[in-house]
Symmetry: C2
Subunit: 228 residues, 2 copies
DNA sequence: CCGACGACTTGAACATGTTCAAAAACCAGT
DNA sequence: ACTGGTTTTTGAACATGTTCAAGTCGTCGG
């Protein structure tokens, strides 16, 4: 299991070291006092650099969040590996991947609200639909593609091709639920995952019924038509 | 069809007049130059009051958006009346209600991005899931309840009871799509509405198939369990 | 008319994200 | 070691949302 300070591990050149120092300081402060209460001045002071220097490496406070998000993605990708290697049935694969996200993101739960606030702005590079977050998005969809491909699911090809993106969308929904979930130990979000995944599984198996098939095809067609 | 300046119609006391003046000035500037570029100072100057005075009536810039949102809701509720009165089949009823939203909100399309940015913050009173926006949300769900109840849809009772909230959620999704839609004349969002509504209709009719019925019941159960 | 009380209004002051011109540090190439 | 250029660093200045102590106005009981 990786930790936060890992971000400094791969530091090499002088400039890179400063960059990583600023990032890890920022993330620590975000975690300790929340995003809103953490000022750029505080980040700079704690990191032992000037305000302007922080802006030299991160052109805005939001970009520090972007960096955090990328870091989170990496952690999730790594943490999910063992599940994808060991498990072959669809339900535990998907459940595992989604619950792993919760674990990885847990330390930042409170701060995540502000993150998604920024991400909701279509003009922000942090928007999950923006061009700039395409790499992160595709990396995330890739995880779900592996969930599907490595499982015992039998599905019509067109649906199987779209499914990873749909699961990614499902995760977006769960994340939205998560940021609003202030129950102890996040048990409502966990319950949502544990109950919705089997439901998805049953829904997918329903596509064998002829009457359902036509609707699903239209649905896939609709999704294709609105995607780009 | 009501217009923006209507907000001043019901003005009575001195204070109320100033309040409405500030709001209409703010909305005009938001529309003309976007939310970000409109400063509180500009609003105050244009309205002929001091900055502090604007804060006396609206405790933050976000609250001016909240007020805008309420205004939008009212307009939508009124504009939808004729459709609900004239039409009895489900598809045109729902399509009409959704497209009417587009028309009412159109002048604020660009500014809406910023609106949903704020609304995405779980701690913001503008969040569609917050306590403070409960009245607006319930009013909106009420519209969809009328869409369902006044239509020729035949559905199992449990599903019919949950459907209005599901349609409200669908509208949230469409709005999310809308804020990202920068095509000419919003034709992608319109296409989404025109194609997804018949699909929803067909999906709902599928619930008559016994195999589907069980899954739908579980789905309704899941939704109920996570609602409060 | 007086005074007092609340509603309203003001603008300067504050906090914080961001910019930028200048200084410092660093790094060849000679 | 010197010089020219590039990278990095600095901190003061700026823009803008927000607060607040003080002022003004309107009204109502006496």
């Amino acid at each position: 299991m990786t930790t936060l300070t890992d971000v400094t591990e791969s530091a090499t050149s002088k400039g890179e070291q400063t960059r990583e120092l600023i990032l890890s300081t920022a993330l620590r402060l975000f975690r300790e006092q929340g995003y809103g209460k953490t000022t750029m001045r505080a980040i700079a002071t704690e990191a032992g650099v000037s305000v302007g220097n922080a802006y030299y490496y991160y052109s805005s406070k939001d970009h520090l969040m972007q960096a955090y998000y990328d870091h989170l993605q990496d952690q999730h990708r790594d943490a999910v590996e063992s599940i994808l290697a060991a498990e072959t049935s669809f339900v535990p694969r998907l459940t595992g991947v989604l619950r792993t996200w919760l674990e990885v993101a847990a330390p930042y739960h409170e701060f995540a609200g502000t993150f998604f606030k920024t991400a909701a702005d279509p003009k922000s590079p942090l928007s999950p639909f923006s061009d700039q977050s395409r790499p992160a998005r595709e990396a995330s969809v890739e995880i779900f593609r592996r969930v599907v491909d490595g499982s015992d699911l039998k599905l019509p090809a067109e649906l199987k091709a779209e499914l990873p993106e749909l699961l990614w969308l499902m995760q977006m929904g769960i994340v939205l639920f998560w940021v609003h979930d202030d129950t102890e130990d996040l048990h409502r979000t966990k319950a949502l995952i544990d109950r919705s995944v089997p439901l998805v599984d049953r829904l997918l198996r329903l596509t064998r019924i002829p009457g359902v098939r036509g609707v699903v095809n239209d649905l896939v067609g609709l999704i294709r038509s609105i995607k780009p």
